[in-house]
């Protein structure tokens, strides 16, 4: 009897799990399609119906040493974009440099501001906080056009600072770091003050180590958001060598079509998503904590 029931439950379980597992497969489908697409050689890319397992994996979509022998070879990803020195590699550097800089600056500025707003008493404290909060209500599209005009007037079009500096004041980082800092007891700070530490020193050596988990969670959110930022670079980056990865991908996407060029797009997508996948695997818990703490996604 017990045996029978156990088997029944297991069967029911399996049936109930089937649609969920099917959904889960659909979730990872594009990742799979991307990986196999990136490693297929040209003849295999041309096959109809497409192959579901790579028969003859190759790196040709990235770099093809026999590029000049069509039809079975074509220029790889790193051989395209001949208008730019280093081509795709340059775009990769642009994206990485910009996203890392923004993450760094916005964490520094954000934690400094959060510290002052959470732990200092001064006239205007409430005012500044409410001002920051109110600005969060306004969607970024409202400032899109004037921000572009501002960049033009500052002659910042096609410069790194056009991407980095405006994004360095992240109000949501201030908000959540401030919340987090309320949990730090004032006594610790007072003890440091008695020992003669300056406020800057307290921020650096007392506050920052204590808010590390929040910094990691918020930093990840900011990095991913910037890594995937499309609209702003689309507007302020006009020359070829200043392209970021999202721009390069949308360019490939719109200019290429046909079975054989699929490999190039998949190769570009794979290289672009590798950092996000690595961050996901390494910081999975922090992502979950970040979402439950801030209620924000990337």
């Amino acid at each position: 009897m017990i045996e029978y029931q156990g088997r029944m439950t297991r069967l029911v379980n399996k049936i109930v799990y089937a649609p969920v597992i099917f959904m889960a497969l659909l979730m990872i489908l594009p990742y799979y399609w991307m990986v196999i697409g990136a490693f297929k050689p040209v003849p295999e890319l041309r096959k109809i119906p497409p192959t579901f397992i790579v028969e003859d994996p190759t790196l040709n979509s990235f770099y093809d040493s026999q590029r000049d022998t069509p039809p079975d070879h074509q220029r790889g990803l790193f051989q395209r974009f001949e208008d730019t020195p280093a081509g795709f590699g340059r775009f990769y550097f642009n994206s990485m440099f910009v996203a890392v800089s923004i993450t760094f600056f916005s964490l520094v500025l954000g934690s400094l501001t959060a510290f002052v707003l959470a732990k200092h008493q001064f006239p205007g404290r409430q005012f500044f906080f409410l001002l920051f909060m109110a600005s969060m209500m306004v969607p970024w599209q409202v400032t899109l056009i004037p921000s572009f005009l501002l960049m033009r007037d500052l002659k910042w079009i096609d410069t790194y600072q056009a991407l980095i500096i405006p994004a360095s004041a992240q109000v949501f980082a201030v908000f959540f770091l401030r919340q987090y800092m309320f949990s730090i007891p004032d006594e610790i700070l007072d003890a440091a003050r008695v020992d003669g530490a300056s406020e800057f020193r307290i921020w650096r050596s007392v506050i920052l180590p204590l808010v590390r988990p929040a910094m990691v969670a918020i930093g990840l959110t900011i990095f991913l958001g910037q890594w995937n930022n499309l609209v702003w670079p689309l507007i302020v980056m006009q020359s070829a060598e200043m392209r970021t990865l999202p721009l390069a991908i949308s360019l490939l996407n719109q200019s290429l079509s046909g079975a054989t060029t699929l490999g190039l797009i998949m190769a570009a997508a794979l290289l672009t998503s590798i950092p996000t996948l690595l961050l996901f695997l390494r910081f999975q818990k922090e992502f979950v904590r970040g979402i439950t703490m801030t209620g924000m996604k990337g």
Binding site: Y31, S135, I145
Partner: protein, 388 residues
């Protein structure tokens, strides 16, 4: 008994105030870097945008913005609603039909229809009934009468309609999808934990890159994955990205794919916070499992639910990347027949392809107003539900 403690007010004086400011100079100094960047690149553009929305400006340096008052808003929003009368023949007063490329009156058309020719009733041209400057946005029939909706900017209304549809669809499916997943994967078994990671993966890594992959999964060329599967089952091939009927389905599917993990995590956290004692107490009182779900789980998840919906609405109304990556071509930004045109893609198009910068700024403020109203409505609805 009670002795009120009256706080001794410090004397207000300007010099005293300045002294306080001076004493707090370190706080202000530490606030300064953020405040400076925020003011220049956050606040100033908001004020600028408000001013710009009242002007006509094509981004040319020599031609400064022309003040036009609220004309931009009028042009974006004005709608007209008119009855579209049938076109009548002047001599006989009968309605004109078009049969096989030939214009005939109704009585003739009936005879021709009897012989198997298909006929179509002709209506007055829209511009004869619509006010000056309006063009047709949509028409529909109700009880035998045809009505026409005109607008000065039909493309904006198309974008707003698409965005609203997208928002409702994506928020509905991803919220309930996320809730279902959270309930299903609640137990912390190994299989469930793995599945959680899988469903969470796109929420974190669904960037531009993987979105681009979807475009090639849905491509209508015969190496497209979906069409290969369709062929396998013997179904008809579909030109997914060039078929108006499929645009919204694909957009909502992508929103579901990339957007389910986020509510799932929040609902899982919400479920974890439901005190186990409540379930035990209810079980002792004889409440069945559905009853426990209805009266304990649902009310306690309500704040999370409300939060997910509000954040979903705000995010969905601002959708841009997916449309741009999956549907835009070099010719049309909103895909075939603007079927994927959303408010933000329209904003981008007017601002940076047509250089109507003042007009685009007005579109942005309307977007803000719409998001604001939608948020308020959902918060209000959420509160009404709390009453019982």
């Amino acid at each position: 008994m009670e002795t009120a403690v009256i706080p001794t007010r410090r004397r207000k004086s300007i010099s005293g105030f300045l002294f306080t400011l001076w004493k707090k100079r370190i706080s202000y100094a530490m606030l300064m870097p953020f405040l400076a960047v925020f003011t220049v690149f956050g606040l100033y553009p908001i004020a600028w945008s408000a001013r710009l929305s009242l002007t006509e400006y094509r981004g040319i340096k020599d031609k400064p913005p022309q003040y036009v008052g609220i004309d931009n808003f009028k042009n974006i929003l004005s709608l007209s609603f008119k009855e579209l009368p049938p076109e009548l023949d002047e001599a006989t007063g009968e309605q004109i039909f078009r049969c096989d490329g030939e214009k005939v009156i109704e009585s003739v058309a009936r005879e021709m229809e009897a012989t198997g020719v298909s006929c179509e009733a002709r209506m007055v041209r829209p511009r004869d009934v619509l006010p000056e400057g309006h063009s047709e946005y949509d028409r529909f029939s109700f009880r035998g009468t045809t009505y026409i909706i005109g607008a000065t900017d039909p493309r904006f209304w198309k974008a707003l309609y698409n965005t609203t549809l997208y928002t409702m669809g994506s928020v509905f499916f991803s919220t309930f999808g996320g809730l279902a997943l959270a309930l299903f994967l609640q137990k912390q078994t190994r299989v469930n934990m793995t599945l959680r990671v899988v469903f969470f993966l796109p929420a974190v890594t669904s960037g531009i890159a993987i979105t681009a992959v979807w475009r090639w999964i849905f491509t209508s060329q015969n190496f497209g994955l979906v069409n290969t599967v369709f062929r396998f089952f013997g179904w008809e091939q579909v030109t997914f990205l060039a078929n108006v009927d499929w645009t919204m389905r694909i957009l909502i599917w992508l929103a579901l794919w990339g957007g389910m993990g986020f509510p799932m995590i929040l609902f899982l956290a919400g479920l974890k916070n439901v005190p186990q004692e409540l379930y035990e107490a209810a079980a002792i009182d004889g409440a069945s499992v559905p009853q426990r779900f209805r009266h304990i789980t649902i009310p306690l998840l309500r704040p999370t639910f409300l939060y997910v919906v509000v954040m979903g609405i705000i995010g969905a109304f601002q959708v841009f990347d997916v449309v741009y990556i999956v549907f835009s071509t070099t010719e049309t930004i909103g895909g075939v027949l603007d079927s994927a045109l959303t408010v933000v893609t329209y904003l981008y198009d007017t601002g940076f392809n047509m250089f109507e910068l003042g007009y685009a700024a007005s579109v942005a403020w309307i977007l803000f107003a719409v998001i604001f109203v939608m948020t308020m409505i959902s918060l209000r609805l959420g509160r009404v539900n709390e009453l019982y």
